[in-house]
């Protein structure tokens, strides 16, 4: 712990107001998402707790029929917007983190493999990566989502939607991890400590995991942070387009899609608050990733 507090990275963090604010915002968002059931005033997905008469209540104003008042208003179903945002944040963050993890695992594995083994293995993996890179990742995600949805039975579709979403975003995002890891692996593999490990008789797999992996992780950390912001946005995009999280398990993107239908009829709060939450979350994570990239890049110090 003391080593960490003395490190350059921590110093860079301490002296960067942007980094401190972004971290605080991100942590608050994560805490809000994790403890959503405790913070939310109602469970917006429990039909028994909903009163249709509460529909379209403006923020902080008492409802004309029931007299109840809601912090951020309610939507057409009478669901409390504040509570739906908390639950939506939960799904958005979960999908984002899980998708990045999946992309990271695939990317690190394929990157290490192509960098260390080389030859045909490398050619096949990296050409596949190049091909995938020529398609916008949202298109790749939609394609995977469509195929996966097609093969799941109808009655499981809503349940499986979240997992399919994770798979789709994860598979569309592994390329940059693989590229960075491959590049770093090429550098590390020529160093003598790898030769020493080979002389000891270590197997290629052991060398990749025990020796090279720990030395290529810091760029991966940076990409993972930036990818998290992108994955959250990708998830919101898919949900906004109606191919992502279903209305029964709405993510921030789904909430925005629902809200945009009411924008021109005057119920602006249904759209605005989820959109602002998404904006602030994506911005905070992105700024954090940018800062981390600068802090870990020795050339910029």
């Amino acid at each position: 712990m003391n080593r960490f507090l003395d490190s350059d990275v921590f110093y860079a963090f301490r002296t960067s107001p942007v980094a401190i604010v972004s971290l605080i915002v991100t942590v608050l968002m994560v805490l809000a998402a994790v403890f959503a059931p405790l913070i939310a005033t109602t469970n917006p997905f429990d039909p028994a707790s909903l009163n249709l008469m509460n529909g379209f209540t403006a923020p902080m104003e008492p409802n004309a029929f029931t007299g109840e008042s809601f912090f951020l208003g309610t939507d057409d179903q009478g669901r409390d917007v504040f509570s739906t945002i908390l639950y939506g944040l939960r799904i958005s963050l979960f999908v984002g983190v899980a998708a990045v993890m999946l992309a990271m695992v695939i990317g690190i594995f394929l990157g290490l493999l192509s960098g260390y083994v080389g030859g045909w293995t490398e050619t096949i993996i990296m050409r596949a990566a190049d091909v995938q890179l020529t398609f916008p990742s949202i298109l790749v995600a939609m394609l995977i989502f469509g195929v996966a949805k097609g093969v799941t039975p109808v009655e499981y579709r809503d349940q499986m939607a979240i997992w399919v979403l994770i798979l789709a975003i994860g598979l569309s995002d592994w390329v940059q991890f693989a590229r960075v890891v491959r590049g770093a692996t090429l550098v590390e593999k020529s160093k003598d400590y790898v030769a020493a490990a080979r002389l000891i008789g270590r197997s290629p797999l052991t060398i990749m995991i025990r020796h090279i992996l720990p030395n290529v992780l810091s760029p991966v950390l940076v990409i993972a942070t930036i990818s998290l912001a992108l994955a959250i946005i990708a998830e919101a995009t898919l949900s906004f387009l109606g191919v992502g999280a279903p209305a029964t398990q709405p993510s921030l993107g789904t909430l925005i899609r629902i809200g945009q239908g009411f924008l021109f009829s005057g119920e602006w709060w249904i759209l605005l608050f989820p959109a602002c939450t998404l904006l602030v979350l994506a911005l905070a994570v992105n700024l954090l990733g940018d800062w981390l990239r600068d802090a870990l890049n020795p050339r910029l110090r």
Binding site: D192, Y193, A195, A196, L199, I200, G201, R202, P214, N215
Partner: protein, 328 residues
């Protein structure tokens, strides 16, 4: 001197050059091109030559860090030149290496104990405590304080890091160690310490060294016999004193005349310094005939067409030069 522990015959290590759209092989860099030598058990063979002559490649090829192009390598009675990497596992403890750059040869994310203990993890099924005992023993042997066992390499100086590298090489009680310029990255005061440590360990453990260096005076200090490399080939191999007092090959003569003499009274006159003209030819396109013919001060017509054979001219002295073919 006992029997040869290491026998290298006609070792070739060519690296392919690829070019063009289809990555066709258009040539090869002949980094090591037909090298033969023996190393007796318990002796130190010095391998000297200028930068880029292939001495490091030779040392790495002998330990099969590369898949060699041709020739044979026999270590401790086993031919290892062409067996697959996986079959070398059992041989690995016999042969180890000390690297040039002590910074790059230690994994920065592993503690000293983990680095020195890694060979034990791979080749023994000892308990943690047994391993730690052996690690401490090795640290004592190379003169490292036991308290440093759980620190990371960045906390050490160059000389200390080289000691860590030596301890790792010793962990499995090898017979043969390739020292690949182990002192080139160290400052002079530390060089002496490391060389003395290597000598002490050789006496205590009966080690056999292939000592690669471009430092001629250090090789003179540590080696029993010396091989001189030029452009991928050994041009001369002789016992140390014979080589330093009476170099036969024109390249060896030129190389030795370039060694600085600290004593001005014994310093040679400028005329006796042999200055070679031109550059070393590319190992991708070595000259026809003798590799040294483009720069040799005593070049003959024959040298440009016919490669000299590496032969024993007097007992124990090998030279590859047309000048000495009639000596026998």
């Amino acid at each position: 001197m006992s029997a040869a522990l290491v026998q290298v015959r006609d070792l070739k290590m060519h690296f392919p050059i690829y070019a063009g759209l289809f990555r066709r092989q258009v040539g090869s860099v002949k980094a090591v091109d037909g090298v033969s030598f023996d190393i007796m058990a318990g002796e130190t063979l010095g391998l000297v030559g200028e930068s880029g002559c292939g001495k490091s490649t030779c040392g790495r090829a002998v330990l099969r860090l590369y898949d060699i192009t041709g020739g044979s390598i026999t270590i401790d009675g086993r031919e290892i030149g062409h067996v697959p990497q996986s079959a070398l596992m059992g041989m690995r403890p016999t042969m180890q290496m000390v690297f040039q750059d002590p910074q790059a040869s230690l994994n920065p994310r592993m503690t000293v104990a983990a680095i020195i203990g890694e060979p034990l993890d791979e080749h023994t099924d000892w308990s943690k405590a047994q391993k730690l005992d052996r690690i401490y023993e090795l640290m004592d042997q190379v003169g490292l304080n036991r308290q440093f066992a759980h620190r990371y390499p960045h906390a050490f100086s160059g000389g200390q890091r080289q000691r860590i590298g030596i301890a790792r090489a010793l962990a499995l009680k090898p017979k043969f160690i390739v020292c690949d310029e182990p002192i080139a990255a160290l400052d002079v005061s530390i060089q002496a310490q490391v060389v003395n440590l290597l000598e002490t360990l050789q006496d205590e453990l009966g080690l056999t060294y292939l000592f690669i260096s471009h430092d001629l005076s250090m090789v003179r200090h540590i080696a029993d016999r010396v091989a001189v490399m030029y452009l991928g080939q050994v041009v001369e191999l002789a016992p140390r004193e014979a080589l330093y007092h009476n170099p036969l090959h024109p390249y060896t003569q030129a190389l030795l005349s370039a060694v600085p003499e600290p004593d001005p009274a014994r310093a040679q006159t400028p005329q006796s310094r042999i200055i070679l003209r031109g550059d070393v030819p590319s190992p991708a396109d070595p000259p026809k005939g003798c590799n040294f013919c483009t720069r040799c001060p005593q070049v003959m017509a024959r040298c440009k067409t016919e490669a000299p054979i590496f032969r024993e001219v007097t007992p124990g002295r090998f030279v590859a030069c047309h000048l000495y073919e009639t000596v026998n």
